[in-house]
Symmetry: C2
Subunit: 110 residues, 2 copies
DNA sequence: GCTTCATACCTAACAGTGCTAGGTATGAAG
DNA sequence: CTTCATACCTAGCACTGTTAGGTATGAAGC
């Protein structure tokens, strides 16, 4: 399903932090994890994800380290930091609030 | 609660269309309706709403008409059109999809 | 009359962000 | 040697909320 860029922007931080909460991951894998989490509906582009990762690192929410995979390929892993955990909690609150307002707006007579 | 501009952007169209689904309304009232729907947590600025309304009208999702209120004040009312009803349905689908992916990402071990 | 406040609509400049469309490089498979 | 999936990165563009204003009406208080 095609999702508006605004919705992608709004969910990007929350999704990345939510994924990294389960353990470190890297760019290419995160895109696949997002696809899996959405049942194949969400297709993130690399041009959107990498700037997001760099931004989160600049903000001190995640940190990165290089590691060579078993395959021999070099990967840049990202790990959730304490500030990132707090930011994730804030994102969840905001999301829940907006979702509740939307649900109320959508309810009622058609 | 402070909500990120990305989340505001993502929910603006869905909220406005959802509100107009219940009948015509105007700028100033919509801001109050959003505040009510969110239990006072969401505070939309006028500088954000009016461009949204004009955009939705340009896109043919809503239409506007002038009317003089009982108070004597002139108001510009907005009414949901058929295309807007379809756009609202699409917004709901997208939102539900992303919300489900987020919920899955947030679930599991902490 | 005059001031103040809530109502009511609008706009310009700015910063931030995804998208498009590229580029670079490695390893495996044929 | 070619092709494909993997893996990371960037520049220019268009879009959008925020900030910070402007304009105007009607009611209330003095």
């Amino acid at each position: 399903m095609k999702v508006t860029k605004e919705l992608v922007a709004a969910s990007a931080t929350a999704l990345v932090l939510g994924i990294l909460r389960h353990g470190p991951s890297y760019g290419y894998a995160i895109i696949n994890q997002v696809r899996d989490l959405s049942g194949g509906e969400l297709e993130w582009s690399e041009g959107m994800l990498y700037p997001v990762l760099h931004r989160l690192e600049d903000q001190g929410l995640i940190e990165s380290y290089s590691e060579r995979a078993e395959s021999g390929r070099a990967r840049r892993y990202y790990r959730l930091l304490a500030d990132g955990r707090r930011a994730l909690a804030a994102e969840q609150q905001q999301w829940t609030l907006v979702h509740a307002a939307l649900t109320r707006a959508w309810a009622g007579k058609s």
